[in-house]
């Protein structure tokens, strides 16, 4: 199989499930482009998933750095050494004792599962497989079974669907509900006051989306959605009513996206803030290159905070 496409399908994951099954059967190696919202790219080796890039889910680099598991200075040194020796970043991190091999494998697998969930939670229109030599810094070797990742993504969607209220969306902005202060509210994350939600509550400012919260803390999108669902159920936070997204929000609905393109109903050109988001370059913002660590912390595709 050198190149192949899969068209729209009326399945929970659109054509993605079938595309992954075909790639696994053909022991395909290369890139599986997922076109949709958020969309992304799945890196396959011998039919197994070694890495996934999608703007809704933090990469392993973001998880390890933002969570504080690996200090930025140590990461930078390992990155420089791995690049100089043309070695793998994963090996360098383990050799330097910055993270255990077993723990790193666990982090890579949880990051893959979260990225697959992010693709599934959005909208998958088409898929396209292309043979290519891909060079991901943080890839899982040997790769994860695609059917396991799909089953896990579907389980996660079922768990979230069981919560009361309208479905959550990764691009929904979260607002803390007004609440009188109580003794114990100042407790740290994981303990008294907010049943372990203090860490995420501190980041909720009415502007950050669920996806932004995941990136800010270096936690998975699913885990963050789960926390938001629990907090909504207990009245700690508020979310916009369905259809209450601000213009320009990426919500996976082609119909809504079309409504934000072109002139307004009055025939006037749209204001800049109301236009659909344009693809952003991930390398530099003003012509100056970012240090490697900062570059890694930026989303790799469209959908910046």
């Amino acid at each position: 199989m050198s190149a192949r496409s899969w068209g729209p399908a009326d399945e929970p994951l659109g054509p993605l499930d079938q595309a992954l099954r075909d790639c696994a059967a053909a022991r395909f190696s290369g890139a599986l482009h997922v076109i949709g919202a958020p969309g992304g790219m799945i890196c396959l080796a011998q039919g197994a998933v070694t890495a996934i890039e999608t703007p809704w889910s933090p990469s392993p680099e973001v998880i390890l750095l933002r969570s504080g598991r690996v200090p930025p200075a140590d990461w930078e040194a390992a990155f420089t050494a791995a690049t100089g020796a043309r070695g793998r970043m994963t090996d360098e991190l383990v050799t330097r004792g910055l993270v255990g091999a077993g723990e790193l494998e666990a982090v890579l697998r949880t990051a893959l599962a979260d990225a697959m969930f992010a693709l599934a939670a959005g909208f998958v229109d088409t898929c396209r497989a292309e043979e290519a030599a891909l060079d991901f810094e943080m890839r899982l070797e040997p790769g994860a079974e695609a059917d396991w990742l799909v089953a896990e993504a579907l389980r996660r969607m079922r768990v979230l669907a069981d919560f009361p209220g309208p479905p959550l969306h990764a691009r929904a902005r979260v607002t803390a509900a007004p609440r009188p202060a109580r003794p114990g509210d100042a407790g740290h994350d994981g303990h008294a006051g907010h049943d372990g939600h203090a860490g995420v509550l501190a980041l909720i400012d009415g502007r950050r989306t669920i996806r932004d919260l995941a990136f800010a803390r270096g936690r998975g999108l699913y885990v963050t959605m789960l926390e938001v669902a629990r907090m909504r159920a207990t009245g700690l936070i508020a979310l916009p009513a369905p259809g209450g997204q601000r213009p320009g929000d990426e919500d996976g609905s082609p119909r809504r996206k079309a409504a934000t393109a072109g002139p307004t109903a009055a025939g006037l050109p749209r204001r800049h803030k109301d236009r659909p988001a344009q693809p952003k370059r991930t390398g530099d913002a003003d012509g100056r290159p970012f240090p490697a660590v900062l570059r890694l912390l930026r989303p790799r595709a469209d959908g910046g905070p």
Binding site: S67, R69, D91, A106, T110, H191, G220, Y222, V223
Partner: protein
């Protein structure tokens, strides 16, 4: 790197009476890796155990020495031990070990899991 996690789980599986070993992500309730006898109920059990671990942590709070270390469940035929592995990021992992009750002693099983647990994430 590759299969180091699986190898570590296999070392625990080699202990007498162990039927299934799994690493569970507490935050998501996902089975990260598992070895041993196929268990169709493992995914559901993992999610439930993760919920219990979170609930216990919230209940115990930040008291010194009050950190959750292990969850034990005993049934007619089995003994399940879930040891908390506290490495960051996230909320850590649970090392789940299912023993044949007829071939295990809860105190010795707990001791054995404690001895082998440190190698899982190393």
């Amino acid at each position: 790197m590759g299969t180091s996690l699986q190898e570590a789980l296999h070392q625990i599986l080699a202990a007498e009476g162990v039927r299934t070993v799994a690493l569970i992500d507490i935050a998501s309730g996902m089975v990260v890796r598992s070895v041993g006898e196929p268990n169709p109920g493992l995914a559901t059990a993992a999610a439930t155990l993760a919920d219990e671990a979170r609930a216990a942590r919230n209940l115990l709070g930040p008291r010194p020495g009050g950190e959750l270390e292990e969850i034990a469940a005993v049934t007619g035929s089995g003994l399940q031990l879930s040891k908390v592995l506290l490495d960051k990021p996230g909320e850590g992992f649970l090392l789940f070990v299912d023993w044949d009750r007829a071939r295990a002693n809860i105190a010795l099983a707990s001791l054995r899991v404690g001895q082998l647990a440190s190698a899982v994430l190393a």
